[in-house]
C-alpha cells in the first residue's frame, strides 16, 4: 500500500527536519519545504493527503498560505502548527481543520493527522511504540 503523503511547510530548518524524521518514523511519506510558495508548488506537482503548516514565516505567512491552499483545493486538510497560541484568535485560522501547538511531544500532532484523515475515511498508520524512556 502506498504511503500517505504529508506536506510540511516550515521555515525553520531544524523544525522541518524534526517533523520530517518524526512523520517518516510514524510511516508517512513526507515532503518538507521552507516556504508558502514552495508548498503551493509542491501541491501542484504531486498529490498530498495532509498539509502541516507553520504560521510564523517570513514573506508569505501561514495564514496567507492557508488561503491559497484552500483556493487551490478547498478539500485539502490543513493542520496549523505553531508556538503562538494566540493565533487561534485570528478567525482566518478557523479555516484550518486542526490546530496544534508545537511540542517536543508529537503525539498530539499524530492524533490530529489521524483525525483529519479519519474524517475522509482514511486510516492513518498506527502510532509506533516509543522506545522505553
Amino acid at each position: 500500500m502506498e504511503k500517505l503523503r504529508i506536506l510540511v511547510i516550515e521555515d525553520d530548518d531544524n523544525q522541518r527536519e524534526l517533523y520530517k524524521q518524526d512523520l517518516v518514523w510514524v510511516g508517512y511519506d513526507v515532503i518538507a519545504v521552507r516556504s508558502g510558495q514552495e508548498g503551493l508548488q509542491a501541491l501542484r506537482e504531486q498529490p498530498v493527503d495532509v498539509v502541516l503548516l507553520d504560521i510564523a514565516m517570513p514573506g508569505m505567512d501561514g495564514i496567507e498560505t492557508l488561503g491559497k491552499i484552500l483556493d487551490y483545493d478547498n478539500q485539502m486538510p490543513v493542520i496549523l502548527n505553531t508556538a503562538y497560541s494566540s493565533y487561534k484568535d485570528d478567525f482566518m485560522t478557523w479555516a484550518a481543520e486542526a490546530y496544534v501547538i508545537k511540542s517536543h511531544d508529537t503525539t498530539e500532532l499524530h492524533k490530529a493527522i489521524a483525525a483529519v484523515l479519519k474524517k475522509r475515511g482514511i486510516q492513518a498508520p498506527p502510532e509506533p511504540a516509543e522506545a522505553s524512556e
Partner: protein
Amino acid sequence: MSDPAEEKLTDDRSLAVARDQRRELAQFLLRHASIITRNWAERAQDGVTAPPQVDLGEGEIWEPSLLALVEHLEAAGPDTDMPAHVTWLGRWHETGSSRAKVRDHFHALRDVTTEALAGTDQIQEAEKEALLGLLEAAVRNLRLETSEVETRHLLAEAVDARQQFEGLFQHAVDAIMIADPETGRLLATNPAAAALMGMSKEELESHTLGELQPDLLRVAREQLDESNPYFGTPQLLPMANAENPRRVVEVNSAAAEYGEQRSAQMFIRDVTERVRFREELERRADELQAKLWGQLQETQHLRVFLENIINALPARLLVLDQNLTVLHANSAYLRQRRLPREQVEGQHIAEVFPAALLEEAGLRQAMENTLKTGDRVRWAGFRQATEEHTERILNIGLDPCPGASGERNLLVTIEDVTERHRQLYERSILHQIVQAMLGMRDLPRLLHAILTGITAGGAVGLGFNRALLMLADDENGVLKAEMAVGPESPAQAGQIWSELSERRTLGEFLKAFDRLPPPEEQPLQKLVEQLTFPLSDTAVLPMLAAATRETVYVFDAPNDPRVPAELYKVLGADEFVVAPMVVQDKVIGVAVADNSINKQRINQTDIQLLTALANHAALAIDSARVYAQEQRRANELDEAYRKLESATERLVRSEALAAIGEVTAIVAHEIRNPLSTIGGFGKMLLRSAGDTDTVKRNAGIIVEEVAKLENILGELLDFTKPAHPNFANCSFLDVVRSSVLAAQARAEARQAEVTVDVPEDLPLVPMDCGQMQQVITNLILNAVDAVQPGGKVSVTGRQEDRLVKLSVSDTGHGIPESHLDQVFDAFFTTKRTGTGLGLALAKKVVEDHGATLSVASQEGLGTTFVITFNLDQNLPPPAVSLRHREADEIRKGSE
C-alpha cells in the same frame, strides 16, 4: 609809575622831544603797517589781548588796532598837539582798561615792531636802530601820557564829588546847617533846615543858633569839643513850633571846613515820633512788669502746689546741682531715709545716699555724666540690700533739670518696684511652667513637668518640697495617685536640690526627666502608689478639693477632720495644700504639695500659685488625653490607609502584569520553538540509539527538562489568557481523586502522605471539572512541597449549611504572617523554582466559579487552603463559544 627816572620826562622839554619822536614813529609805522599788523595778529593768537573796542556813540565803533592808531596819528598831521592823542587814550581808559593793560599793549606794539624790523631787509641797520630808539622813547612817553590822563580823571572825579555833595546837601531829608561855632551865625542851610524852622532860607540864615533854640549853640559846641563827654554824641532838644508844641529834634554836629573858616556842620532831625514811640514803649514795659509781678505771685502759688504734689509722690525725688549737692528732696525720700529735711538739703549726695548704690553700682558716675551731657538715664532693676536683710528692687531715673537761672541741675527719681517685680516674677514662673506644659502630649512627661513646676525652686518653679498628682479614674470610680516627686528625707533633699540647683530653666529640669529612674523606682512614688480614694468620697480630702473646686490648705493634718487617716499616714505632713484639677465639670484630679522637708510655712502666695498651676495642669492633662485618643484613631486610619495603599499597589501590579503577559506571549513563542526541537530530537535520539545506555539517559534528561520548561511556559500563557470555565456538574470526590492521582508521583518522591476525606454525598456543584482538578492538584503539590519527608497532606470536603468547603492542609513550615496576604499575588513565590503563578491562577479559576479561595497558616504548624462554594449562588454555565471549546479541548489534549 613811581620810578623817579621816568618822572624826569614830565617837564615840557621832554614832552616836546617825545612829540617829535612820535611823529617819526608814526610815519615809520605807516610805511610798514602791513608787516606789523600781520605780526600783531600772530601775537594776538599767542594770547596777547587785543585792545578793547570803544563805542563812540551814534553807532560809531572805534577799534583801537595798531593800524587805527597809526591812521589816527597820521590824520592828526605832523603838527598835532597832544590833546588829540590824550583824548584817544582817555577813551581807551574810559572803557575800563587799566593803565597797566594800556601799557601792556604798547609794550606789545614795541615788541612786534622790533620783530618786524628784525625780519625785514628793506630797512638799513642804522635806520633800524634809530627806529628802535624811537620806539623805546614812545613807550616811555606813553607812560607819561597815561599819568596825565589819570590826573585829569581825578580832577573830574573831584568835581563829581562836589556836585554829589551839593545834591545831597540840597535834597537831604535831614536839616543841615553850617554855623560858626564861635558866634552861632549861620553860614549855610539846606531847604530841609528852612522847612524844619518854618522859614525861608534867607530868613533862616539871618538868625543865629541861639535865636533858633537857646541850647542849640551850646550843644553844637559840646559835640565839637573832643574833651567834652557829649563829643560826637547826638542830643535831643525840644523845639516847639505852632503845629507841635511837643516837638523834639535830634542834633548831631561835626567839625567842617567851610572855605577857610572852621565851622560846625549840624544835622538836625525831627524825632518827635520816635521819642513818642519810645515813651509808649516804656509805658507798656511798666504795664508788662506789673502783669509779670502778678504772674509771679501765681507762680509762687503753683510752686507750693507742685511742691505738695512732689512731696506726696511715692517715688523718691532729689534735685542735685552741678556739685552733687542736694538742692531739694521730697518727703518720700526723707521718709525712706528717715532724715529731717535740713540734714539732707544742702548736703553733698555722698552724705545722704547709700554708698553701695552710689559708688559701687556706678550711680555717682552716671549722675556726673548726666550733669555734663544732659543725657537722660533710666536704670531699672537696681538691687539694694536693706538693713532688714531683704532685697529691694529700684528703678532709678536721672534727668537734667533746669535750675532757676537756667543752669543744669539733676533730677534723681527713685522708684521702689520690689512688689511689682515680685508679682511679675511669680507670673513669669507660672507662665514658664504653663509654656512647658503646652503641647506636651505624652502624659507621663506632662505629669512630670507639672510636678517639677510645683517643686522646682528659684526662678523655675513654685518651690514646694514635694508634690503628688492624683488623677481620676472614671472607669474604676477612684482617685488614684499617678506620680509624685520629692525627696523622702532631708538628707536626700539636700542631694537632689544641689543637683538641681545648676539647672536654671524648667526646660533644663525637664531634660533631666529622661535620665530619671523609672517612676516605680523613685522612693516617693513607691510610697504613694497605693494611694486611692473613691471618687464619691467628696466629704473629705482629697476629693473634697475636687468636688468643691476649692484649694484646701491644711495646717494641722492630725487634727483636721477633712484629712483621712490614710492620707496623713502616706504624706506624713502636718501642713499641705490640695488644689483641684477640674476642666469644666470634669474632675481630672488633684495636686498635693507640701514643705515637709524644710518645714517652711506655706504662705498665701504659694497657695494662689499652686491653685493657678493646677488649673492649667488640668487643661493640659485633659488635652493630652484627648490627643492620645485622637492619636489612636489616627493610627487606625493610618493602618486602613496603608492597606488601601497596598491594595492599590497590587492593582497597579496586576495592570503591569497585562503588559508582562504580552511580553510573555512573545517570549514564550520564541522559547517554544527551540524547546520543541530539542525535545523532538531527544525523542529521535531515544528512538534511534536505544542500545546505548548513556545516550538514552542523557536524552531522557533532555526530554524531562524540556517538559518542565514547557510546563512553565504553559502556565505563563494560561495566566495571560486564562480559559473560560466550561461548567458541568462534577462530583467533588472524583475531582479530588483525580487531583491526588496527578500529584501522586511528587508526593511519593517527597515521602508525603496524602489523605482524602471527602464524603461521596456532597452536593454536585456546576464547575469546570478539568480546571478545578488543576486547582486542587496545584494546592496538593504546594502542600507536598511544603512538608518535610513523612509530613502529612489532607484533603477534606465538608458541607456547612449551604456552603461546601474543600480544604487542603499540610503539616509544613507554614507561611509567615507577613507573606500571607501576598500568596495569591502573581509572580509571588518563596520556592526556589516556580513562576509564582500557580496560586494566582488557582484563585482566579476559583473566583471564576463564583467560589472563594482563602488561606490560613501558622508558622511551624502548617497551612490550610479552603475553597468555599456557595450553593445558593446559582451560577449559570456561561455561553462558551465554539472557539473556546475547541481551544480548550486542544489545550486539555496537550496536557
